[in-house]
C-alpha cells in the first residue's frame, strides 16, 4: 500500500507568503481571543473548590443551584460527562474557611438526594494556584530555550529560531482555541501543550534534516527549490506519523472519559497545527531568515563528528 506516489516536487515555497499570512491571521485571532475572553482556568490555577457528585438518577442541576444559593454559596453547577454526574465549582472567597467547604456542599446535596455520592473533591488554596501558573510559564520558557539551544548546536541558529517561532505559534493557537470555546484549562492540558511543543519541534527537525541534506546534494538548486524538495520528500512520513499519533489521541477522546477529554482535545489541535506549522511555517521562516547553502557546504566549524551525522535524514 502506498498513499503518496508523489512524482514531482510540490512547489510549497511559491505560496510561502500566503501561508505566512494565514498563520499571522490565525495567530492574531488567537491572541485576540486570549486577551478578550481569556483562558477559563481550572481550580488548580485559580484556587477554589471543585466537587464531583454522582446521582442514581438524572441530577436536578437547577435544584442544586438553588440549594447552594440558599446556603449563601456562589457556585457554578454543570453536568459532567453524563446527566447523572454533576460538577460544582466554588471560587475562593475571603473570610470563608475553604477547607470545610466541600463538607458543607456534600451535606447540602445529601440532604436533597440521599443517593448523592461524592466522587471527587479538589480544593486548591490561592497561593498554590499562583505557584502552579508560575511554574507552568517557567516550564514553557525552559522548554523553548532548551529546544532553541539544541537546534542551534545541531543545525544553525536560523533553524532553532524558525522551529521555536513556528511551534510557539501552535501553542498560542491551542491556547486561543481554549479561550475562544472557553474550554477548561487544567493541569493535564498544560502538560499536553508542552508535550505538543516537543512533539511538533521534532516534526520540524525531520524537515530541517532533509533540508540540510538537500543543500549538500542539490548544488545548483535555489533555496526555495531545496526547501520544496525536502518537504516533498518527508511529506508521506509526516502524515503517517501524525496519523498514528492522532489515532491514539482519538481513542483517548472516545474512550478516555471526561477526565482526559480536554487533554486529548489540546493534543488534537496541537497535532493538526503541528503538521501545518512545521511544514508551511517553519520552512518559509528559515527562508526569510536568509538560510544559504554556504552555511552547510563549507561551514568551517563542522567537525568530523558532525560530518558523520550529516546523512542522518529521511
Amino acid at each position: 500500500m502506498e498513499f503518496f506516489k508523489i512524482r514531482r516536487v510540490i512547489p510549497f515555497m511559491r505560496h510561502a507568503l500566503l501561508f505566512n499570512v494565514i498563520s499571522l491571521l490565525t495567530f492574531v485571532a488567537a491572541v485576540f481571543f486570549l486577551g478578550y475572553k481569556g483562558l477559563h482556568f481550572s481550580v488548580e490555577f485559580t484556587g477554589g473548590t471543585l466537587v464531583e457528585v454522582n446521582f442514581k438518577d438524572a441530577a436536578n442541576v437547577e435544584a442544586i443551584r438553588e440549594a447552594l444559593d440558599k446556603a449563601g454559596l456562589k457556585g457554578e453547577v454543570q453536568n459532567f460527562g453524563s446527566s447523572r454526574d454533576v460538577l460544582i465549582r466554588l471560587p475562593v472567597e475571603k473570610g470563608q474557611s475553604t477547607a470545610d467547604l466541600s463538607q458543607k456542599v456534600t451535606g447540602l446535596l445529601k440532604a436533597q438526594d440521599a443517593t448523592a455520592e461524592v466522587r471527587r473533591v479538589e480544593f486548591v488554596g490561592p497561593q498554590v494556584g499562583e505557584e502552579l501558573a508560575e511554574h507552568g510559564a517557567l516550564a514553557l520558557l525552559v522548554t523553548a530555550v532548551g529546544i532553541v539551544i539544541y537546534l542551534w548546536i545541531r543545525f544553525e541558529w536560523r533553524f532553532g529560531l524558525a522551529a521555536i517561532v513556528a511551534n510557539l505559534h501552535d501553542v498560542v493557537i491551542i491556547l486561543g482555541c481554549f479561550a475562544f470555546f472557553q474550554w477548561e484549562f487544567s493541569l493535564p492540558v498544560l502538560a499536553a501543550v508542552l508535550a505538543v511543543l516537543g512533539y511538533s519541534v521534532n516534526e520540524s527537525v525531520v524537515v530541517f534534516d532533509r533540508v540540510r541534506e538537500n543543500f549538500r546534494k542539490m548544488r545548483k538548486a535555489s533555496v526555495p527549490e531545496v526547501l520544496d524538495s525536502a518537504i516533498t520528500g518527508v511529506i508521506s512520513r509526516t502524515i503517517i506519523t501524525h496519523g498514528c499519533t492522532q489515532a491514539m489521541v482519538t481513542m483517548m477522546l472516545l474512550f478516555g472519559g471526561p477526565a482526559l477529554h480536554y487533554f486529548a482535545l489540546a493534543l488534537t489541535i496541537g497535532i493538526c497545527f503541528g503538521i501545518y506549522s512545521s511544514v508551511l511555517v517553519a520552512s518559509p521562516l528559515v527562508m526569510w531568515l536568509g538560510v544559504d547553502r554556504t552555511q552547510f557546504v563549507r561551514a568551517p566549524k563542522k567537525s568530523a563528528a558532525e560530518e558523520k551525522n550529516e546523512g542522518a535524514v529521511v
Partner: protein
C-alpha cells in the same frame, strides 16, 4: 551486513525476559487483605503474632488465602471483602483489647494476588496514584511565623526566671514580632543580664539599645537557630500527623515534607474523608498557663493574653492569663477520656517528667489560685478549663470543663496524638472516590488498548511484514515501559496512563521514519540488504534529534510540574527512553533475524515500492 552477533540477540532476549518478569505481577490483580502494623516502638509485628492471629482466625473459621510479613507489617489476604471485614473486626478485638490505647494499627488494604516467588524477587505491580485507587491527598502549609513566636515566648519565660534567680531587676520583657525586648533601668544590671542570657541561651543574638527612656536588650534568633527551629517544627508536625493517621487506621499512608514549609499527606483507600480531614485538619495545641487574677479584677489587658472561656451555661467570658507558658502540648504523653468524682466528663492527662516538675513547682507556689488550660485551634485560643489549684500535683491530673462525652474523647485523641509545633492550614485537597478511581483505570486502559490496536492494524496493512515488525517493537516498548514503572514503583496516575498512550503514538514515528527510508532506498535501486542497513543508519540521527527535543519538554515538565503533571512527565520521559531502544534496537534485531541470514532476497515485504 544485517546480522547481529549472538551475544547481542542474547542481550536483547534477556532484557525482554526481565521486562516480562517485572510486568507479570500487574496481571494478577489484587485481593482484599487486612494489614496489621505496630503503633508503638516497643510493640513488634513478628512471626509470633502471625501464628497467634492465624490461630484466632482458624478458631472463628475464617479462611485466609495467604500471608505476607515484611517491614511494613503483616498482611493477611482473603478471598472476598465480606470475609475481610469480618476478619478485621476479629483481629482488632483480639490484639487491641483497649481501644483507647491501641498497640497495633489494623487497616483494610489490598494485596497483590501474584504468587509469592514474584514478590520475593521484588516484582511488584505498578504503584497506583490516588486518582486511580481512590483516597485523599492533602497539602498542608506550616505557619513558620507562629512556630518562631511560640519559641520566643518560651525563651521569654526562661529569661524571666533566670533574671529572678540571679536577682537582676528588669523593667519588663516583651515580644514584638520576631524580637524580644528586655527593658532595664541601670546599665550595670543590663550588662550582667546580657552575659547571663548569653550563657543560658546562646541561640539568641543580643543587641544593646537605648530608646531614651529605658536601656534595652533586643534579642533575636540567630539565622542558624531560626533554620533549626523551622526544621524542628516541621519534623514535629510530621511526627504528630503520623500518629494521628495511625489513629485512623490507614494502610499505606504517605506523610512527607515538601519544600521548606509544606507537608504532603496521602491516604490511599480512605473512604471516610470527613473524619480524616477533621482529625488531620485540627491544628490543636494545648497550653497550661496561670490566670492573672489582678488583671481579672481590674479588667486591664496590659502584659496578659486574653482568651474567651465557654462556660457550662453557654455564656462566654474572657480570661486574662500570664504570658508565661508552663506546659505546651508536646509535653503531654498520655490522655484518656474519663469522668471526675462528680460524674462530669473529664480528660485525665499525663505529662513528661520535665513538665511534671514544672507543674509541681507551679502548683505549690500558686495554691488556691486559678490555672487555665488553653486549646489553640487554627490560631485562635480558647480557655477550655479554668480551675482553682486545690492541691499540689505533678505529672498526672484531670482537665474538667464544660465537655460532652464525645468532646472529651476527641480531645483526648488530639492530646494523645501529640500537638503540633506550629499551626497548619490545608492549602490543597484532592479526594477521589474508589468507584471513580476504578473507572479511571478502565477508561485509560481502554483508550490505550484501542489506540494500540488501530496503530497495529494500520502499520501491518501499510508496511506489511515490516509493519508487523514495527508493531512487535511497539509492543515490546509497552512491555519495557510497564516493567520500568513497576520496577521503579513510580506512581501511576491517570495522566500517566495518558502519557503511556501518547508515548506509544509518538514512538511509532521512529519506525515510520525507518520504514519510509528503506522504501526510498529500495526505490532508488539499492539491494534489499543494503536498503535495510541504509534505512536504519540514516534514520538514526533524525530519531535521536526528534527524541531529544521531545525529552527537553518532558524534563521541563518533570522539573516544574507538580501533582498530575508530574505523573505525566515521569511516564513521558521513561517512555521516550524505552522507545528509542525498542524502535531502533529491538526492531532491527527482528528484521535481522528475518532477513539477515538469507543470501538472496528477491523482494522486501515493506509494502508498495514498485512505482516511479
Amino acid at each position: 551486513m544485517n546480522r547481529f552477533p549472538a551475544w547481542k540477540y542474547a542481550l536483547i532476549g534477556l532484557t525482554i525476559a526481565l521486562a516480562s518478569l517485572f510486568t507479570l505481577p500487574n496481571f494478577f490483580g489484587e485481593a482484599p487483605a487486612v494489614q496489621v502494623s505496630s503503633n508503638k516502638t516497643t510493640v513488634k509485628v513478628d512471626a509470633l503474632l502471625l501464628a497467634r492471629l492465624e490461630e484466632t482466625l482458624k478458631g472463628a473459621q475464617i479462611i485466609n488465602t495467604g500471608v505476607l510479613l515484611d517491614l511494613h507489617g503483616l498482611r493477611i489476604r482473603f478471598s472476598d471483602s465480606d470475609t475481610q471485614l469480618k476478619a478485621k473486626d476479629l483481629i482488632e478485638k483480639s490484639i487491641n483489647p483497649d481501644p483507647q490505647n491501641p498497640a497495633y494499627v489494623v487497616a483494610l488494604n489490598l494485596l497483590s494476588s501474584s504468587p509469592n516467588w514474584l514478590t520475593a524477587v521484588h516484582a511488584l505491580p505498578m504503584y497506583l496514584g490516588l486518582d486511580l485507587r481512590g483516597g485523599v491527598h492533602f497539602l498542608l502549609q506550616v505557619d513558620m511565623q507562629a512556630a518562631i513566636t511560640k519559641r520566643l515566648d518560651a525563651y521569654a519565660g526562661e529569661i524571666r526566671s533566670l533574671l529572678r534567680d540571679k536577682n537582676l531587676r528588669h523593667a519588663g520583657i516583651s515580644r514584638e514580632g520576631q524580637t524580644l525586648r528586655l527593658r532595664f533601668r541601670e546599665a550595670a544590671t543590663r550588662d550582667k543580664a546580657s552575659v547571663a542570657i548569653n550563657e543560658l541561651l546562646p541561640v539568641l543574638t543580643l543587641a544593646k539599645r537605648d530608646d531614651g527612656q529605658d536601656l534595652l536588650i533586643v534579642a533575636t534568633l540567630k539565622p542558624e537557630a531560626l533554620k533549626n527551629e523551622q526544621d524542628l517544627a516541621i519534623k514535629q508536625n510530621i511526627l504528630t500527623l503520623g500518629r494521628r493517621v495511625n489513629q485512623l487506621g490507614v494502610a499505606e499512608p504517605v506523610i512527607q515534607q515538601q519544600g521548606a514549609d509544606r507537608i504532603v499527606v496521602q491516604l490511599p483507600g480512605v473512604q471516610d474523608t470527613t473524619k480524616a480531614k477533621d482529625i488531620l485538619g485540627r491544628t490543636a495545641t494545648l497550653e497550661v498557663r496561670l490566670v492573672d487574677e489582678e488583671a481579672m479584677r481590674s479588667g486591664s489587658s496590659f502584659n496578659v493574653d486574653v482568651f474567651p472561656e465557654r462556660k457550662r451555661d453557654g455564656s462566654v467570658s474572657s480570661v486574662p492569663v500570664k504570658k508565661q507558658v508552663l506546659v505546651t502540648g508536646d509535653q503531654f504523653i498520655g490522655a484518656q477520656a474519663t469522668f471526675d468524682n462528680d460524674q462530669r466528663s473529664a480528660v485525665s492527662v499525663e505529662l513528661n517528667e520535665a513538665a511534671g516538675r514544672i507543674m509541681r513547682q507551679a502548683t505549690r507556689e500558686n495554691l488556691k489560685h486559678l490555672m487555665a488550660i488553653i486549646l489553640i485551634e487554627k490560631g485562635k485560643g480558647e480557655a477550655i478549663s479554668v480551675a482553682t489549684i486545690q492541691g499540689e500535683f505533678g505529672a498526672r491530673f484531670q482537665i474538667t470543663g464544660s465537655f460532652t462525652a464525645t468532646e472529651t474523647s476527641d480531645l483526648s485523641l488530639l492530646i494523645r496524638a501529640g500537638s503540633l509545633a506550629a499551626p497548619m492550614e490545608i492549602i490543597e485537597e484532592r479526594t477521589v472516590g474508589p468507584s471513580l478511581g476504578k473507572e479511571n483505570i478502565d477508561k485509560g486502559f481502554n483508550a490505550t488498548k484501542w489506540g494500540f490496536v488501530v496503530i497495529v492494524l494500520f502499520m501491518s496493512a501499510y508496511y506489511t511484514l515490516f509493519g508487523v515488525f514495527s508493531s512487535i517493537a511497539l509492543g515490546v516498548n509497552l512491555l519495557f515501559l510497564v516493567a520500568l514503572l513497576s520496577l521503579l514503583q513510580a506512581t501511576l496516575t491517570l495522566p500517566g496512563i495518558a502519557a503511556i498512550a501518547l508515548t506509544l503514538g509518538m514512538a511509532i514515528d521512529a519506525n515510520v521514519l525507518i520504514n519510509e527510508r528503506i522504501r526510498e532506498e529500495v526505490r532508488a535501486g539499492q539491494s534489499p540488504q543494503a536498503a535495510i542497513a541504509a534505512g536504519y543508519e540514516r534514520a538514526w540521527g533524525t530519531i535521536l534529534d526528534s527524541n531529544v527535543t521531545t525529552l527537553i519538554a518532558g524534563l521541563a515538565l518533570l522539573i516544574f510540574g507538580s501533582g498530575p503533571v508530574r505523573g505525566f512527565a515521569v511516564v513521558h520521559c521513561l517512555g521516550i527512553l524505552t522507545s528509542i531502544f525498542s524502535s531502533v534496537v529491538v526492531s532491527r534485531a527482528i528484521v535481522n533475524l528475518a532477513y539477515g541470514h538469507r543470501r538472496r532476497i528477491a523482494h522486501l515485504a515493506i509494502g508498495d515500492t514498485g512505482w516511479k
